[in-house]
């Protein structure tokens, strides 16, 4: 009954477009609004994470210097203006956590999967808008819990973003392993719930709700990337949830999954025997490695779309791009051991993981070559989105290549846990994925907010960030190769490392410069939301379906019928057309041959009224009935 009532009220609201503020802006079930919510939350978390990195960069560059201003802001965490060693660890940990999970998983994938999957597939909304809304609110709750840990007496979690036990399991092992660690685990558990709700939705929407003519081989590469990302997340996040639960048990209920033979200062010999700390690492990296592709693949998808659109060329080797994504996805599940070469794991296992890891380099290389060929003989428009996409390719090359060193077990002996690793993952995961995210924001800003961002500010933002990012992360390779371990609070205590202080200062200055550049972005972003130039319906002359919707957001995305798709998404600069683009929904008999000509010309994949009864569909219509919501 209440369901029916709610439904009726809902339908009413739909008709008159007069939703209450709360339903429209807060507990919205509209994928476009949810996407904006993900984006804004992600940006806020990103600013927090970046400010943390600047704080600990100050410490690394001038470890003996007293910055009175820090004490003013941080109080007991920076007594006398010097960052506390425990707080340094906390900053590094939370910085890593925020950047990996909150900015680049939820902020990037959450934003663009939500925005683009229904729009580019031609669906009125997600398969389950209600679960979608839940997904955002679990994410929000998780962010709040994580930030809360800064107000805990013993400080936030500080065992590194990987929170290896026993350090993270034993409350007395370090202050950050107290209540702050509990909050971290709760935050991650909530986060995983959010990721799973999102993932289920993305997968079922892509599989079941594509419009007429949108066969899988006409999907834009963005959708392919989000699709594989969602599958990776769905299969690997539960493992992390398990790992986190075991850790919670070990911390609070006296189990010994990860603990054995420990004598802890201030406590004595512990009762726990029989567990293994290495078990945690296996579980963690079973998520952890796919996670880096969960971060990277959406960025690669965005890049494919942006590069093709702005080079005015079909993406080169569409099929190869999809196969590469698929290959990367499959392989990413069986390479986690490369994070554990020197844990004392059987060396033979190390050889296997080394082999599999280096195999992953092949599809990655194919992607890079395909990007380059797409640019070749293009007609390249320098929009800020395009520049950021190019930046991604550059970082993907320089960061990806160092992966070949780290994937080699013999070399990893010397490089593991050194600054070389920090350089590697910041280039390939940090910089590349962040650039993908920026690219997406600049490109789809008109779709999200109906206005354009300022290009000139975008150019400044790009060049400053691009140069600064290389200045920050490139020199770290050299530190790592000279044997500087990571997560070191102060280098000045070791005379051998003093030579690196100078480099650290350069890096810090560059990091501050990068920080300033983000002010330009934030200004541009928030200013343009309200006062940017009004955008037309298809500002980039793009082919994909999202640009066939009206600029003003409406429920159900298209005022009339959902357009039918006639060809692949990358028919740019066809010889037989005067215009250099050919939108997917413009009727025309010719299929185009940008990639494998679809055979399923007639079979509609989805019609609004009667979805085909596939397993997923049945499940979801059941869920929809239970939850009382229907996709519009």
């Amino acid at each position: 009954m209440s369901t029916a009532a709610a439904h009726g009220a809902h339908a009413d609201a739909h008709e008159h477009h007069h939703e209450s503020f709360i339903r429209k802006y807060i507990f919205s079930t509209d994928h476009k609004m949810i996407s904006r919510q993900f984006l804004i939350t992600g940006i806020v978390m990103g600013v927090i994470g970046m400010m943390m990195s600047i704080l600990f960069r100050l410490q690394l560059a001038w470890p003996d210097q007293k910055f009175a201003i820090l004490e003013f802001f941080l109080g007991r965490w920076a007594k006398g203006g010097v960052l506390d060693a425990n707080f340094y660890m906390a900053l590094v940990t939370i910085h890593g956590t925020i950047m990996v999970f909150y900015v680049l998983t939820a902020g990037l994938s959450g934003t663009f999967s939500n925005l683009l999957i229904p729009l580019q597939c031609g669906a009125r909304d997600m398969a389950s808008p209600f679960l979608n809304m839940l997904s955002y609110w679990f994410f929000f709750l998780s962010s709040v819990v994580l930030c809360w840990s800064f107000f805990v007496e013993t400080g936030p979690a500080s065992a590194g973003w990987t929170v290896y036990p026993p350090l993270s399991a034993l409350e007395k092992a370090m202050p950050g392993s107290g209540f702050g660690m509990t909050l971290w685990l709760v935050a991650i558990a909530l986060f995983i719930v959010s990721a799973l709700l999102g993932g289920v939705n993305y997968i079922s929407t892509v599989l079941n709700m594509r419009t007429k003519g949108m066969s899988m081989n006409r999907l834009p590469l963005t959708i392919w990337a989000f699709f594989f990302t969602a599958i990776l997340g769905l299969l690997s996040f539960p493992v992390l949830l398990g790992a986190a639960l075991f850790l919670i048990f070990d911390r609070s209920f006296g189990t010994s999954f990860y603990l054995s033979d420990i004598w802890l200062n201030g406590v004595g010999a512990l009762e726990n025997v029989g567990g293994s700390p290495i078990l945690y690492q296996h579980l963690f990296w079973f998520l952890g490695h796919p996670e880096v592709y969960i971060i990277l693949m959406p960025a690669l998808g965005i890049t494919s779309e942006v590069i093709a659109t702005n080079a005015r060329k079909p993406i080169f080797g569409y099929t190869a791009m999809v196969i590469s994504l698929m290959g990367i996805s499959v392989l990413s599940f069986i390479v986690w051991g490369h994070h554990m070469f020197i844990t004392g794991m059987n060396p033979f296992l190390g050889s296997v993981f080394m082999f599999l890891t280096l195999v992953i380099a092949v599809p990655s290389a194919v992607k890079v070559f395909n990007y380059l060929t797409t640019l070749w003989r293009g007609n390249i428009r320098f929009t800020p989105a395009m520049l950021f996409a190019i930046g991604l390719v550059s970082f993907f090359i320089s960061g990806g290549l160092t992966g070949i060193y780290l994937g080699n077990a013999a070399l990893d002996i010397n490089l593991h846990d050194s600054y070389f690793v920090v350089a590697h993952f910041h280039l390939v995961m940090g910089s590349a994925a962040i650039f993908g995210m920026f690219s997406g924001i600049y490109h789809w800003f008109p779709k999200m907010f109906g206005r354009l961002m300022n290009n000139t500010l975008g150019y400044f933002h790009f060049w400053l960030t691009f140069i600064a990012a290389y200045l920050v992360f490139f020199p770290m390779h050299f530190m790592g190769l000279a044997g500087v371990p990571r997560r070191y609070y102060a280098f000045s205590v070791l005379p051998e490392f003093n030579v690196w202080l100078e480099v650290n200062q350069l890096i810090t200055v560059a990091a501050i410069m990068a920080g300033f550049a983000q002010v330009l972005f934030l200004w541009n972003f928030f200013y343009s939301i309200y006062r940017g130039k009004k955008s037309g319906p298809n500002p980039w002359n793009s082919n994909t379906l999202e640009w066939s919707t009206p600029v003003e957001h409406i429920h159900g995305n298209w005022p009339g019928e959902i357009p039918t798709v006639y060809r692949g998404p990358y028919e740019y600069s066809r010889e037989d057309r005067e215009e250099d683009f050919y939108p997917q929904h413009i009727p025309g008999d010719d299929e185009g041959h940008g990639h494998g000509a679809p055979k399923t010309k007639t079979a509609p994949v989805h019609t609004e009224e009667a979805p085909a009864a596939t397993g997923g569909n049945v499940l979801f219509s059941a869920l929809k009935k239970v939850l009382g919501f229907s996709p519009r």
């Binding site: 910055f67 092992a173 640019l375 160092t402 080699n408 400044f460 371990p485 997560r487 030579v499 600069s573």
Partner: protein, 496 residues
């Protein structure tokens, strides 16, 4: 419309001007202030003026830059574009040239780094297998650097070359099987080569038995390292985490009198804790009296601490904490008792072991470091020996290598008389992780012999087995029956 624009830019101008002003007027000393505790005017320590300048000018320049950008975009640019109706700056051209400039400047930067820091990289390996790692590194570097240069140059060159031109149409070029096969196969071949080479290097380092290797135990704890040499019998004594006593038996070696003394101390502790548990209510009264004599104003933290303690007692937290401690110590006592009669554990082999605070090695002698952790995971990282292995509680790990250069030799080679080998901790392990290291000295056999001779045995041979019995052990209140209950199976996990 114009008015509004002015209003906005005015606000912006104000914002950035104030930022500029603070950064120009605030020399860094305002932000960076000396320790108030020091009485004299402090000399800038470890902080040369030039670095201060650097930050200061960086802020200044950036603020200026941002100001310029804002002013440019929102005033001059927009206004003149409005007036003349044509673009002031051709951004396509600017961006295209910037990508070329970036390419050139970037290459110069990479070249500079290679020259300037290149000599610090992978400094001459000081171990036998180190050369094979460096060799592997060089192969990898050769391939990846070539790919890096080619792809990055192409990327930025294409950006420049194929920049947008009015009226030109891009090539409709979407597919080329041959090309794609070629650039799938070539990386595959290169990577096969690297994998095979990597495999043989890795295999050689980790899976080649070294029968002549001498064993040294390296023990990691929060926050430091200890080394243990096996002594004259060439046999390590057994060890166990239940035997650890930071004062008398840091590594938890099986030395009967010491372990018995530890057990007695533990029993005394449990007895005392049991008394505390029984007397909680009287304790609460004592504390209340104590509190009555104090005041928040005068005692501050001591007062609030006491208050909290009483709160804990009232809520039962104290009781449960005491119970947990008693249980934990009881388990430890049982585990000790269960082994005390074992001849395999208490076999006297530990007596002549030597525990040292430096590691001394003989040049050319293969060593196997056997790692033990006391509390959390550490990682034993020796960059000059190209060696690293995690140190994991509850699991023995090891790493075998042969030092090939003495400390003296390295000092001469690096022209640095201060040089020393160190074993660092590379796995985050707590607040002092960054300062957890042990010195390694590589020397000749004679020098080594002289040094090891001087190191003390764990148990002095003249008066065997005279551990210090802790004073409290005498007034033990624990029931001796439980303490000597030996019916428990030896279930503890042994170190080795």
């Amino acid at each position: 419309m114009k008015k509004m624009m002015f209003g906005w830019s005015g606000a912006k101008l104000l914002l950035w001007a104030s930022l500029l002003l603070t950064s120009t007027l605030a020399p860094l000393s305002v932000f960076a202030q000396a320790d108030p505790a020091s009485d004299v005017i402090p000399a800038p320590k470890e902080f040369s003026l030039s670095t201060a300048d650097l930050v200061y000018y960086a802020y200044w320049l950036l603020a200026l830059l941002v100001l310029l950008v804002i002013v440019y975009i929102f005033n001059i640019g927009a206004a003149s574009e409005k007036l003349t109706g044509r673009t002031v700056i051709n951004w396509t051209k600017v961006n295209a040239w910037l990508s070329i400039i970036f390419l050139v400047a970037g290459s110069a930067g990479v070249a500079y780094e290679l020259v300037y820091h290149g000599k610090l990289l992978l400094p001459e390996a000081a171990s036998a297998h180190g050369d094979s790692i460096d060799n592997m590194f060089n192969w990898t570097f050769g391939f990846t650097f070539a790919v890096f240069v080619i792809t990055e140059v192409l990327l930025f060159w294409f950006l420049f070359k194929y920049r947008h031109k009015e009226g030109r149409k891009a090539a409709y070029y979407f597919h080329n099987n041959q090309l794609e096969v070629i650039w799938t196969v070539i990386p595959a071949i290169v990577l096969t080569f690297l994998v095979l080479r990597g495999y043989s290097t890795w295999h050689k380092i980790t899976q080649t038995p070294e029968p002549k290797a001498k064993q040294i135990e390296v023990f990691g704890y929060q926050f430091g390292w200890k080394a243990r040499y096996a002594g004259d019998d060439n046999k390590f004594g057994e060890s166990n985490f239940n035997f650890i006593d930071p004062a008398t038996n840091e590594l938890g070696l099986a030395i009967k009198p010491t372990v018995v003394a530890l057990r007695d101390t533990l029993m005394a502790d449990t007895g005392r804790l049991g008394n505390d548990l029984r007397n909680l209510s009287s304790m609460l009264k004592t504390k209340a009296d104590q509190l009555a004599k104090m005041s928040l104003a005068a005692d501050g933290k001591a007062y609030t601490d006491l208050e909290r303690e009483m709160e804990d007692i009232r809520n039962g937290n104290k009781a449960s904490e005491l119970r947990k401690m008693i249980k934990r110590k009881g388990v430890q006592i049982q585990r000790i008792n269960a082994t005390l009669d074992s001849k395999d554990v208490f076999n006297e082999a530990a007596n002549d072991d030597k525990i040292t605070t430096e590691i001394h090695l003989v040049k050319g002698q293969p060593y196997t470091f056997r790692y033990r952790a006391r509390d959390v995971i550490h990682s034993a990282y020796m960059p000059y020996f190209r060696a690293q292995m995690n140190v994991v509680p509850g699991m023995m790990t090891s790493f075998t290598f042969t030092p090939t250069k003495t400390t003296k030799q390295m000092q001469d080679e690096l022209k640095n008389p201060e040089f020393n080998f160190y074993l660092f901790c590379a796995k985050i392990c707590g607040s002092a992780h960054y300062n957890m290291k042990i010195k390694i000295v590589v020397e000749s056999e004679a020098e080594y012999n002289a040094w090891i001779e001087k190191q003390k045995r764990v148990v002095d041979p003249v008066q065997p087995a005279t551990p210090v019995a802790p004073a409290e052990a005498k007034d033990t209140t624990a029931n001796p029956k439980t303490a000597t209950n030996r019916n428990i199976k030896p279930s503890l996990a042994m170190g080795f």
